[in-house]
Amino acid sequence: MEAPRIDSGRIAEVSHGLDRSEVERREKVFSVSDLSVAYHGNVALDGVALDVHKNTVTAFIGPSGCGKSTFIRCFNRMNDLIPGAKVAGTVLYHGQDLYARDVDAVEIRRRIGMVFQKPNPFPKSIYDNIAFGPRVLGMRGSMDDRVEQALRQAALWDEVKDRLKDGALGLSGGQQQRLCIARALAVNPDVILMDEPASALDPISTTRIEDLMHELKRDYTIVIVTHNMQQAARVADMTAFFSVLVDDEGGRRHGILVEYDSTTKIFTTPSDKRTEDYVTGRFG
């Protein structure tokens, strides 16, 4: 057969996030069902169910008080550290109940690393910040190699390789945040949770963190909470929109999951009017 004279293959494809079916074909890292969280008996988040798949970026968006930060903290049992917090429902991590009695929360937090809104390096050298976790865990192998690899993965190596013994607090805010990402990567995690990782950073540093997320999802599964909707649109394959439900009688407020779908769907044709109102800036 003759080759077609008009080659449609030459039309360039625009790079975008994975579509929903591609995401759902991937292994489930987390499978959450009927999750609720209460602080001292006050419900903060109720009835959440969603799956997070391997080697994807999943974003949680929603107005203040919608429970998105509470929710991300359920993925590595950070709520255990908050007095009065009670988690009900199921969070399966690779099929195992994360909240089962015999689960070691410290091991969970090694496998599921976390980066916070404000960079929080230890008041130690750049090198020691990275080496701390592997040393505490007694990880084997060359520490120098481990530090270099983590800094390279976090796109910080070239900027700090000649001053590894300098104090980490001398780095810029954006560099400190990448150091925190490197520190999380140094203990060979499976998942990186990021709670507003770029909200304290300037636009250039924000872009570097976002580029990094695209790189890191090849090897890791990333979950991010962000206030910046365009950031979710840029980096995430899947986006979950949380909102606040106000109780008719008592006026109590708690967070709910409104819609969870591919980021493309959420930002082009969301199914729920509340999502549309939020992403278009008409609510929240």
Partner: protein
């Protein structure tokens, strides 16, 4: 919430509808010029196109600013994209009117055939109706009305074929043939205006449903 932004979206849509309204005046003008073979009216239609172009370019510029400054998403993004596409379709209709006006002038020294003129006027009337329907369906987000444009377009296409068939009969009369060839081109311009109205209908469906689909596949 985002009062300023909503105001900008409303202004874009009003700008599009106004451009549509003045294109309707252009279509009306060129149909009248055809019917009466009025060369001066043809010149007015040709000059009037600058007004359409200016409005389209203003709309395009405003859309560029809204995209750059407001980063619309979801339904807002669809509205802005649909306005950009539809604005261009309307601007093209104005260009078609200019071509018909020029053709009418070019053939004004030749004898006219009333049957062909009647077919062209019929096409023009139908196009005017289609453009009204397309603008109205867009404004009211009325997908069913927009889909109805396809049926109206079939009638325009049929009239176009009639003009073609009629002109074929002039093959042994060089002067009538020259006139007829120009009328075939004018008919083709009306036929394109009808297509552009259908295109606006498709943009209305995209705006409402989020899915783009051609009402008919013109490639077969």
């Amino acid at each position: 919430m985002r009062v300023e932004f909503q105001g900008e979206l409303d202004a874009l849509e009003a700008g599009f509808q106004e451009t549509g309204e003045i294109v309707l005046r252009s279509i009306r003008g060129v149909v009248d010029a055809l019917r009466t073979q009025d060369v001066e009216l043809c010149d007015e239609v040709i000059a009037f196109d600058d007004e359409i172009d200016d409005r389209y370019h203003a709309l395009e510029k405003q859309i560029e600013l809204v995209l750059a400054r407001q980063t619309p998403v979801a339904g807002d993004l669809r509205l802005v994209l649909a306005l950009l596409h539809s604005g261009l379709h309307v601007e093209r209709m104005g260009d078609q009117c200019v071509t018909i006006a020029k053709l009418t002038k070019l053939s004004s020294h030749l004898d006219t055939k009333q049957t062909v003129i009647e077919s062209l006027v019929d096409m023009g009337d139908r196009c005017e109706e289609m453009v009204k329907v397309s603008l109205d369906a867009f404004a009211n987000r009325d997908v069913e009305r927009a889909r109805g444009l396809h049926g109206l377009d079939e009638l325009v296409d049929r009239a176009n074929r009639q003009v073609f068939g009629e002109v074929l009969g002039y093959v042994n009369d060089p002067e009538a043939l020259e006139w007829g060839m120009r009328q075939i081109t004018a008919a083709r311009c009306f036929e394109r205006i009808g297509d552009n109205a259908v295109d606006i209908g498709e943009q209305t469906a995209f705006l409402v449903t989020g899915e783009f689909a051609e009402f008919t596949d013109a490639s077969h």
